[in-house]
Amino acid sequence: MSVATQSTAVRTGRAGRALIVTVLIFFALFYLLPLGVMVINSLKPLPEITGGNMMALPQEPTLEPWRSAWSTAQIGVQATGLKPYFLNSILMVVPAVAISTMLGALNGYVLTKWRFPGHRWVFGLLLFSCFIPFQIVLIPMARLLGLMGLAGSLPGLILVHVVYGIGFSTLYFRNYYAAFPTELVRAAMIDGAGFFRIFWRIMLPVSGPIAVVCIIWQFTNIWNDFLFGVSFAGLDAMPMTVALNNLVQSSTGVREYNVHFAAAILAALPTLIVYIVAGRYFVRGLMAGSVKG
């Protein structure tokens, strides 16, 4: 692998290399600029921002906006900060990601190794769910959640995310398992392992790369989701994204831009951390199987 990576680099001259590096640095700075502005302004007292210069470095750096955003900012009617909503998001995203990834793996296993008549149709329909615009399903889903007694609750929100996550997680695992040698499953059958044992002992242990891809994808989507959160969460289960919106959009009092910036960074932090920790597996997993060896 490492040999192949090295040999894909093309030799360039000194001038060419300088040009490439300059362009890369320029674009890196360009992309980092918004984040930089957010960080800088989240460390300023409010008068420094309202004074006019967004780009200036803080004169008197302070962590007060962060503290306020986390624990005292006025959101809705209560001055709780983002803390409880952050917890809501965690309570929502962890089970939703775990369940949808698990079901995706199971679906992929069945659709590749235990094929049944019509398996193509089932997979096609699951894929279809990836492309449904979510606005279409809001009202029927609201009705269904109501009928199930899950309206406005955390389990209801988790259910919605699981249902709409299965399409993508199945797609990932099915394509990964399609390249997995069927002879292994047959060997395990002869060895006496049943459906779930083969899944648990043979398939899952080698699913690391695709599981990471799936988890990152699901985590990012579910954490960042606003539409389902604002539609189905109610007051008690409101996730981070909706709370952030409520904080920023509040129509009363002074607009505390520094607190808004800090809150936005807080809201984005978990996905950022997930990417930094597992990002390299993400690329590796997406590439897995595409190149032999």
Partner: protein
């Protein structure tokens, strides 16, 4: 009743029948090789014995028990796959004992079985490695070890040597032969390599297009092929097949062949029954080693004919020299001694050992006359 009975078994996918009424009875301790070109149904048949493919009709029984509806794990079989199918996440030791673990064998007993087999196959030093860290030959050994640990009634091999390089393949072939000799277990082995079939088997089933073409010992298959397919599939270079006509002279049947320049040559045949077939068009089959130079001819042969003929191709192959000439428009290959020196374009006195000749019907392609 054999130990493994394949009785009137067919296999269809939808309306397409891929195996037609296969009947094979394998005795206890036998080594049956299923051989044939790809797509002949040999692997399908093996998978049906293993229980990995359903049997459309007929029955398969192992040790007196019909296993049609028995799950693969309860047929008391073990299988070695072409790709070895070692579980990549487990160590060699775990790979080998996985089956025992699934069957609820206690740990101490598993360890004992593992130790015995590891010693038998000399893979004791590999037990803690992962399959990815092994060479092809070592993986092959582990795959066999995994089968041996189970101590099954029947071993099934699905082209186990085809992923190895030529040298290792020959070594492992000998190893499998030794192992079978030592353990005496009933074995069914699938291959497309006719040399493997001849060297390993106690009996061979040659298959083509879903039919068993011939079932017999390696000697029978080689010397008395049931039809032209078996004759040309088994043996390398394959058997020479020449158009001929039966001519009876003095009550003795001869095969009349056309040599270069349209001259006719009569070759005596050892099949008396053909005396009743005067004038019949046939196909004469003669293996390359039955066509030699004078000094290389089999001294015990009864019927030896000499044919002087122009040599068209000479191929020295180390141990032998192969020389070709044309009979009835077909290339005929002769296996000469390495030190004989035929020259291309020159006449060479070939000796034909007609004891070994076989005769086929050109229409049905079946062997006739004996």
């Amino acid at each position: 009743m054999g130990f493994l009975d394949i009785d009137n078994v067919t296999k269809s996918y939808g309306t397409v029948e891929v195996l037609h009424r296969v009947d094979i009875s394998v005795g206890e301790g036998e080594f049956l090789v299923l051989v044939g070109p790809s797509g002949c149904g040999k692997s399908t048949l093996l998978n049906m014995i293993a229980g990995l493919e359903e049997i459309t009709s007929g029955t398969i029984s192992i040790n007196g028990r019909v296993v049609n509806d028995v799950h693969p794990s309860r047929r008391n079989i073990a299988m070695v796959f072409q790709s070895y199918a070692l579980y990549p996440n487990m160590t060699v030791g775990q790979n080998m004992t996985f089956g025992l673990e699934m069957h609820g064998v206690p740990r101490a007993e598993r360890e004992r079985a593992l130790k015995d087999v590891a010693q038998l196959l000399q893979i004791g030093h590999l037990l803690d490695r992962k399959p990815g860290q092994l060479s092809g030959g070592q993986r092959q050994r582990v795959a066999m070890g995994r089968a041996l640990v189970r101590d099954p009634d029947v071993f099934l091999f699905d082209e186990p040597l085809s992923n190895l390089d030529a040298k290792l393949r020959v070594d492992m072939r000998t190893e499998i032969k030794k192992l079978h000799h030592r353990l005496g277990r009933t074995t069914v082995y699938v291959t497309h390599d006719q040399i493997e079939a001849l060297t390993l088997s106690t009996r061979i089933a040659v298959m083509n297009k879903g039919h068993v073409q011939q079932l017999g010992t390696p000697r029978e298959i080689y010397d008395r092929p049931a039809n032209t397919f078996v004759a040309s599939f088994m043996g390398n270079p394959s058997m020479n097949l020449m158009p001929a006509r039966i001519v009876v002279q003095g009550g003795v049947p001869h095969a009349q062949v056309t040599l270069e320049g349209a001259s006719q040559k009569l070759l005596r045949l050892g099949q008396p029954a053909l005396a009743a077939q005067d004038g019949r068009e046939v196909i004469l089959g003669l293996r390359p080693e039955a066509i030699t130079d004078e000094g290389g001819a089999d001294r015990s042969a009864q019927l030896v004919e000499q044919v002087d003929h122009v040599v068209s191709v000479v191929e020295p192959a180390g141990a032998d020299t192969f020389a070709s000439f044309t009979v009835g428009g077909r290339d005929v290959v002769a296996r000469l001694r390495a030190n004989s020196q035929p020259r291309v374009g020159a006449q060479f006195p070939f000796r034909l050992n007609m004891d070994k000749a076989v005769v086929f019907d050109p229409r049905t392609e079946a062997r006739i006359g004996d």
